[in-house]
């Protein structure tokens, strides 16, 4: 068997370690211009066992080949629900790499980093205007850390009132990060059932003196606007609680509705969703958090402030929940989001929201005869189908894998948990009608195949880099690193 198992131009590639040849190196160091030195011999490490030895071209080919086994937004339609896989503007990539930003050490004195601080301040102001919150932190590294920061602030606020509350209400449609973040703050999670949208009665029944907060996602993970949100916020406030909003779905609301105006006390943004920063194959993201005036003293450290045109990082905030990361922010992500807001402007952001909702509803209109739609209400930026109408033992997973054969990234599957066999489709505004039609044609063809050739679904994918992978084997006998 040859080392590489390429089929023509479908290129195979081994692991780095398997390509390694003793003595190669892909890096040249300048000659040492000071006397050599070494620490005490008994502390010095032996050569690192198993570390690769490769030349520069080995490494370049390796990653170039790996990239061809991936699929990104630039490759094609990526309707991953709740992830807002919109187009990532190329100019923003260039701007984040400007040497004035990229070569700037975080410990540089503030009077030498006014440009970065001003940018952060201006982004802060823009996000406040978009969401309606009077104060905001750019610090959290991603949505989940934003949730954590928000729940810590809620906890700190209650404590400052002299209260100790133990419970947090979370609807059954919520992202898993919500209960996990609440638990990390020492809260007990109380799930509440929703029927599509949350009812005032359901919240009233669960809302007692021991409930610190309600965590909602609006629009929720079914793509439905929480129509009673104002009444619900009033109710929670009357009983001494606060309302946290997961802003994962903010792409449905830009310029249409501001969460703070609804009575929400805290919300995180996902800049890698709504504000077009790339998802990076899993990160980095950024999860700024907006808060009401009452919660402002509790914002994490440091906070970017401006006084007479001079910007600085304020660390002198005695009520703060503290620090969440080593340095102030995922600054490189903030640069991209700032560029996005400046490019779009108010009208552009609103148009983006309108077209995102238009696209989701168009897909819904084209597919609702073929796929079961469990919630018939008017949905916003995403639409959730289920596999309930699929015949011949065809399920959501089979549809997802068959979509790979048609050249698409599948939707989010089996989430939200309230829909059995969920297929959650979020097209975003950057997809054209052509793309949506082609995708819908593929979905309709798959529904036909389920009827007449179910084996095509069960065998799928046949046109991807690999056939269906055995996830059970991976979990039962974990092999989490290469071993010689």
């Amino acid at each position: 068997m040859s080392a590489l198992d390429s089929k023509g131009l479908i290129l195979d590639e081994q692991l780095l370690f398997e390509r390694s040849v003793a003595g190669r190196c892909g890096y040249d160091l300048a000659p040492l211009d000071v006397p050599p030195a070494a620490p005490p011999a008994n502390l010095v490490r032996a050569p690192i066992e198993g570390f690769p030895e490769l030349s520069e071209i080995d490494v370049v080919r390796h990653y170039t080949r790996l990239s061809t086994w991936n699929y990104g937004v630039d490759s094609g339609f990526y309707p991953l629900g709740s992830c807002t896989m919109k187009y990532n503007p190329k100019v923003n990539e260039q701007l984040a790499r400007l040497p004035g930003f990229s070569q700037q050490h975080p410990a540089i004195p503030e009077h030498l980093s006014q440009g970065s601080l001003q940018l952060m301040y201006e982004l802060q102001q823009a996000l406040c205007e978009i969401s309606g919150f009077p104060a905001l932190t750019l610090q959290p590294s991603a949505g989940a850390q934003g949730e954590f920061a928000g729940m810590l602030m809620i906890h700190a606020w209650h404590q400052a009132q002299g209260n100790r509350r133990h419970k947090v209400l979370i609807p059954d449609t919520a992202h898993g990060t919500n209960p996990a973040s609440a638990a990390l703050c020492g809260y007990q999670v109380v799930p509440i059932a929703s029927d599509g949208v949350l009812s005032v009665a359901a919240v009233a029944a669960a809302m007692d003196e021991d409930v610190a907060a309600l965590m909602v996602t609006n629009p929720n993970t079914l793509g439905l606007f929480e129509a009673h949100i104002r009444e619900i916020c009033t109710l929670v406030h009357e009983r001494g609680g606060l309302v946290y909003c997961d802003g994962a779905n903010l792409n449905a609301l830009l310029g249409v509705c501001r969460p703070a105006d609804l009575g929400i006390d805290v919300m995180h943004f996902n800049l890698h969703k709504t504000f077009a920063t790339p998802h990076g194959g899993g990160g980095p993201g950024a999860g700024p958090v907006g808060v009401s005036a009452a919660l402002e003293p509790f914002l994490p450290l440091p906070v970017v402030v401006q006084e007479q045109g001079v910007y600085r990082l304020d660390c002198d905030r005695p009520l703060s929940i503290g620090r969440l990361r080593t340095f102030a922010s995922q600054f490189g992500i903030l640069v991209r989001a700032y560029a996005y807001v400046l490019t779009m402007g108010a009208a552009g952001l609103k148009k983006a929201t309108q077209l995102a909702v238009l696209n989701a509803n168009y897909i819904r209109a084209r597919l609702e005869a073929a796929y079961h739609l469990p919630y018939p209400q008017r949905s916003l930026h995403e639409v959730v189908f289920s596999d309930a109408h699929l015949p011949n033992n065809c399920h959501t997973l089979d549809v997802a894998k068959r979509l790979l054969d048609y050249g698409y990234h599948p939707p989010t599957i089996y989430f939200p948990l309230v829909v059995q066999g969920a297929l959650m489709i979020e097209p975003t505004e950057t997809e054209s009608r052509q793309v949506l039609d082609e995708f819908c044609d593929a979905m309709l063809a798959i529904a036909e195949e389920a009827e007449h050739h179910p084996e095509l679904l069960h065998q799928a994918p046949v046109n991807a880099r690999t056939r269906r992978l055995d996830e059970t084997l991976a979990a039962r006998k974990p092999r989490l690193k290469w071993q010689p």
């Binding site: 040497p99 998802h279 899993g282």
Partner: protein, 450 residues
């Protein structure tokens, strides 16, 4: 608008298909009382050229450009970044993808992360590494949470005063409401965690001891001795490496007895970018595998028995376990982990130790020169790597201000974090500081004493 492809005619056709009259009607599910009755008040949109101009203005307002000499470290390090890295991660198949939930079309990301996990295991000397965490400090906090999970009933943590002050603050934030006691362990006169104090503070209630390697003051801690002490009490030894390049020169924490090794991967090919994004890493012993937070990539086979990779052991994670998950983390630092892997692949078994020795030799040279200056001293004699403390004859802030006029960023003032170190300054040297720069710094410091 160039990012929005719809023509008016297409919008009309789509609205008709949906069965609504106009775009506003799509929002009928939002009660009128919830609508924003005005336009957002934002700056008018900028075309691409104007946008570039605006951002260049902001970037230029950061006045310390590449003509400055920087000796700043303290958790982020100015290493040379091979050009290859940015070229490869600019492949948009990598950076415009998301978390590899669908493995059959994500093998590129998955294999790259599997290799990252392997490289981190090799570097740290431990058995299992995850797919990355946000940064060094949050990785350190996650390590502490993991140690608490692994030692039910233990509610005390010993935190070395040598651990990066920001890491200590982030740990305090993460355990704020978890009924955990944080106990600070002092440093000894050599700049290392005081072993006698550790011995006195350890008991069966202590879930973990957390130290830096190197620590914030640059000292390579005596991990073998610390591990011997902690393992008498089954306390986990958590080691945080803010400058993991040191692991190519000094013995690995794993071989010295560390149970959990975390750190910041920025040194390995990531630009400084004002402190982020960097990338946190975490490695543990086999026995603790199922308590790990974050994503894990594992090897498996497909239906035709070909090798492939998938996200695995997901039952630890928030999307399955919800409030019982090992962490709330969802996004990690995917593309940054790939950058680290590319960097380590380029330098590899030969280049990385060579670079580490280079940094050590430069730091040694500068440290000796400064120690010989009248009025300056080096307070600690513990083994160090590329960063060390000097004591100045005047307050460090004054020295720093004076050297700024020579376009030198001489180091980090320790007055806030270690006020007991008299006029302390933390100085860092990398391969980016050639001998001429080192000599200029020495001359500039000397100028101040005259």
């Amino acid at each position: 608008m160039r990012y929005l492809p719809h023509t008016d005619q297409e919008i009309a056709v789509m609205l008709e298909r949906i069965g609504v009259a106009d775009l506003e009607d799509l929002f009928s599910g939002i009660p009128a009382a919830c609508r924003l009755p005005r336009e957002l008040n934002l700056e008018p949109p900028l075309a691409e050229a104007a946008l570039q101009q605006r951002l260049e203005q902001r970037a230029q307002a950061n006045r310390a450009d590449s003509s400055w000499h920087s000796f700043l470290g303290g958790g982020y390090y100015n290493h040379h970044i091979p050009a290859v890295i940015d070229h490869l991660i600019s492949r948009s198949e990598f950076y415009t993808a998301y978390t590899p939930y669908q493995p059959e079309i994500s093998q590129g990301t998955l294999q790259a992360i599997f290799e990252f996990q392997t490289l981190i295991c090799q570097l740290t000397g431990l058995d299992v590494a995850n797919a990355s965490l946000y940064d060094g400090a949050s990785a350190c906090a996650e390590a502490v949470l993991m140690a608490l999970r692994c030692a039910p009933g233990c509610r005390r943590l010993l935190i070395s005063r040598g651990l990066h002050p920001r890491y200590r603050e982030v740990i305090a934030t993460y355990v704020r409401y978890l009924d955990v006691e944080l106990v600070e362990v002092p440093l000894d006169a050599s700049g290392m965690t005081d072993l006698a104090a550790v011995a006195a503070l350890l008991d069966a209630q202590v879930a973990a001891l957390v130290v830096g390697y190197p620590n914030y003051l640059g000292s390579m801690e005596a991990l073998a001795e610390l591990a011997r002490l902690t393992h008498e009490e089954r306390t986990r030894l958590v080691v945080a490496c803010a400058e993991p390049l040191a692991l190519a020169l000094y013995q690995s924490p794993g071989e010295l007895g560390a149970d959990i090794v975390v750190g910041e991967g920025q040194s390995f090919g990531l630009p400084l970018t004002f402190g982020g994004p960097g990338v946190g890493f975490m490695a543990v012993r086999q026995a603790d595998m199922r308590a790990l937070p974050g994503r894990l990539v594992g090897e498996t086979r497909d239906m035709e028995d070909r090798r492939g990779f998938v996200l695995t052991l997901a039952t630890r994670e928030q999307h399955i376990r919800r409030e019982k998950a090992t962490s709330n983390i969802c996004s990690n630092q995917g593309i940054c982990a790939v950058m680290v892997a590319i960097y380590l692949a380029l330098l590899g078994k030969n280049g990385l130790p060579q670079l580490a020795r280079d940094n050590y030799a430069r730091a040694t040279y500068l440290r000796e020169k400064i120690a010989a200056l009248p009025g300056f001293s080096v307070p600690f004699d513990a083994p160090f790597f590329n960063e060390f403390v000097i004591c100045c004859p005047q307050p460090s802030a004054e020295i720093l201000r004076r050297l700024e006029t020579n376009k030198i960023l001489a180091g980090i003032d320790l007055i806030r974090d270690y006020p007991d170190i008299s006029h302390g300054l933390l100085v860092c040297v990398t391969e980016q500081n050639d001998r001429a720069q080192l000599d200029r710094l020495v001359a500039a410091l000397q100028g101040g004493c005259l």
